[in-house]
């Protein structure tokens, strides 16, 4: 299911783009993208993230923002945290692929504060949503308990007033147009009725598929 989401998301990334991949499902996207033509940015200070290292090539000082060991590809560059977030806030990163806990019907994202826990961690989530040119949210369509994650209004604290541009789940792909959520594609074998039944947000484009 997660692989389906990651594969679909990879197709939204255009050659030549600089892309920041968040943790969780977004990490899987790296398997499906054109590694020669997409440059991966990680906010802890690297542009040009390469594939995971083999067991004998792990460099303890070379990690991504999820603290996983990575490699750096030819043409990579290292920089400090302020420069890295300047790239993000300043609109120099083409796309961010992020996980989310909820997305509301205007495309607003909640992906930093976990229900029932004190708000003590934010990391780079707010900067990414605020500054990156194209925001692609990847998430399972419902929670483990079967509750819709596409909701009328986020019940969890939002990460930014700025909405996402795309939301990809295992059932469908939505585009945010203005302040409307538009269903643009159903996953293979999925019907509109299935999407309708698992979505609490109002959306447009019912006729697709």
């Amino acid at each position: 299911m997660k692989e389906v989401i990651a594969r679909r998301a990879a197709r939204l990334l255009e050659p030549g783009w600089v892309v920041n991949l968040g943790i969780g499902i977004p990490t899987l996207v790296s398997k499906y993208l054109d590694a020669d033509r997409i440059f991966l940015h990680t906010e802890n200070g690297l542009l040009g993230v390469g594939p995971p290292p083999g067991a004998d090539e792990v460099d303890p000082e070379l990690i991504d923002a999820g603290k996983r060991p990575v490699t750096c590809r030819k043409g990579a560059a290292f920089f400090d945290s302020a420069a890295s977030f300047g790239m993000i806030r300043g609109g120099h990163v083409d796309a961010a692929v992020l996980g989310a806990l909820e997305v509301d019907e205007r495309g607003r994202v909640a992906n930093w504060a976990v229900p029932g826990e004190p708000v003590l961690g934010v990391g780079g989530a707010m900067d990414l949503l605020c500054g990156v040119r194209t925001i692609i949210v990847l998430m399972t369509h419902t929670t483990r308990e079967g509750e819709p994650k596409l909701v009328a209004e986020c019940t969890l604290p939002i990460t930014s007033l700025r909405p996402a541009d795309w939301v990809v789940t295992e059932l469908a792909t939505f585009r945010v147009e203005g302040d409307r959520l538009v269903l643009v594609e159903l996953a293979p074998g999925v019907t509109s009725a299935q999407v309708r039944a698992s979505t609490a947000a109002r959306y447009f484009g019912e006729g697709v598929g």
Partner: protein, 224 residues
């Protein structure tokens, strides 16, 4: 050269030279990567407490800054991500740890601003969220921004890969992160390095932190 050579010190001596009870201390690193492990261990062995720690996060449970916390030395933490250490979450819940949470881009820029002598800046990050509470909002060119004050400290403990005896620093891979920023923003800066070379051996084109920012040098005894 005498002045330059004086910068190299034993970790415990360097900590004694710069720290005091209640000090505000910046500590470099993203998780343990780029963290000055030897200096944090020396800090943990020192008698100083009541510290304010400015660091992206408070490390791993019981290790390095996680140990500093367990030892009860930290009164207040300024950073972007404390949920990775359950001890920090508990200490906060029990009222033993005061926390100031900032988005990572705001944290890093506030340190940069502090080091560069600026009075703060306006950032679009966080507008309309829980972290905007109590902050000045200003509309500039039709967009809303939050005011962020600069962050400075009494002491910065940082890690670099290589230093010359003057204190010029070169970093390595993603261990750079907050270190060059913190080097500019504290009254006293101690840099822990893997390797010390003679003056003239570092390519000036590659120096990231010029020596005027660095007060003390310590050779790393603990590494990842």
């Amino acid at each position: 050269m005498l002045r330059a050579q004086d910068k190299l010190q034993d970790p415990a001596a360097a900590i004694r030279a710069v720290l005091f009870d209640g000090a505000k201390v910046m500590v470099g690193g993203f998780g343990l990567v780029g963290k000055p492990l030897t200096l944090v261990s020396a800090l943990n062995e020192s008698p100083f407490s009541g510290l304010t720690i400015v660091s992206n996060n408070l490390g791993e449970p019981g290790r390095y800054l996680g140990r500093t916390l367990k030892l009860g030395k930290i009164r207040r933490a300024v950073g972007s991500f404390f949920t990775s250490n359950p001890d920090a979450v508990r200490a906060h819940a029990e009222g033993r740890l005061e926390v100031e949470l900032l988005p990572q881009g705001t944290l890093s820029e506030a340190i940069r601003a502090g080091g560069a002598g600026l009075g703060g800046f306006y950032t679009p990050t966080g507008v309309g969220t829980l972290l905007a509470q109590g902050r000045e909002v200003r509309e500039l060119g039709g967009r809303a921004y939050l005011f962020q004050e600069p962050i400075t400290a009494d002491v910065a403990l940082i890690r670099a890969h290589r230093a010359d005896r003057l204190g010029n620093l070169v970093y390595r891979a993603t261990a750079r992160n907050f270190n060059p920023l913190m080097a500019t923003a504290a009254k006293k800066v101690v840099a822990e390095v893997d390797e010390l070379v003679e003056v003239g051996e570092l390519d000036p084109e590659l120096v990231v932190t010029p020596h005027l920012f660095v007060d003390h040098l310590v050779l790393a005894r603990e590494r990842l």
